[in-house]
Symmetry: C2
Subunit: 138 residues, 2 copies
DNA sequence: TCCTACAATAGACAATGTCTAAAGCAAGCG
DNA sequence: CGCTTGCTTTAGACATTGTCTATTGTAGGA
């Protein structure tokens, strides 16, 4: 975590209380929060922080490559602090819970040239969907 | 197309001018339209159709399994009339163009049990991203 | 300590989608 | 063929998520 703050400072990021709080929220919870959830947790630590600042800061962290934006539903974007290890996501269709997963194989290699239509394909996103144990039990 | 209308009528769908127009728009263009784009094309054929009706009808078509909802960006949902053949999507990161693609292999099989966390995994969505020939040329 | 450029703020605005209450109409029935 | 019934449509308010702007604040170097 202080790693994160150190890295950011080293990259010329001006350190403010607001940015520190947002970074701490993301680093503290290894879950996938929406911007509003980040905002709520940030407000708990620093009541006067504004919504715009949280959005700005999240956007900057994404640009800097320190967090990933994931859209597993088409409601709010979620922010994934696990940006330094490539991974995909497993989503519960009922409660929306998200787990990071690491499938074997390389899906990029599974797309034949004849299916690329002249595109330069650089990335692939895989989202598995199912029902989590909690929801299955209920 | 009339296939589609027949299928729907056979399933007890009350046929109205509005629903016919929405179905025709989807069937006529084999592209991936947003709800607003569907609405715009529907209005061209039936000026008094309302936005809510288009949203309602699209939702019903999705429920009936006749079209698929896809979210390749986190802006508007897009509607894919190619619901009867499983496929994935290839998206241009610059202009947003979408192509249907058919990778080889089965990504579901690539997720080991140890990476399933007790979930019952039933589905997988794969989105390839890259740059289309048009954007690469520009 | 002071300056200056960068950052934070409140709140308006925008895009997309959902809901409601009232009016309209498809289709079965006599 | 013309009712009747209940499903459908409509306009527009509302909700959610995100962006932008003009003003005020402040981090960090001189």
């Amino acid at each position: 975590m202080s790693d994160l703050l150190e890295r950011l400072r080293g990259r010329g990021w001006r350190m403010t209380a607001q940015r520190r709080v947002v970074a701490e929220v993301l680093d503290g919870e290894h879950v996938h929060l929406t911007a509003d959830e980040v905002h709520a947790r940030a407000v708990a630590k620093l009541p006067e922080i504004s919504r715009a600042t949280v959005y700005n800061t999240l956007g900057e962290l994404v640009t800097l490559g320190e967090v990933l934006e994931v859209s597993t539903d088409q409601r709010a974007k979620r922010y994934d602090p696990n940006a330094h290890q490539p991974h995909h996501h497993l989503v519960c269709a009922q409660c929306g819970a998200i787990r990071d997963v690491h499938p074997v194989g390389n899906p990029l290699a599974d797309l034949p040239d004849t299916e690329r239509f002249g595109f330069t394909v650089s990335d692939v996103e895989v989202t598995y969907r199912g029902v989590c144990p909690n929801c299955a039990a209920a």
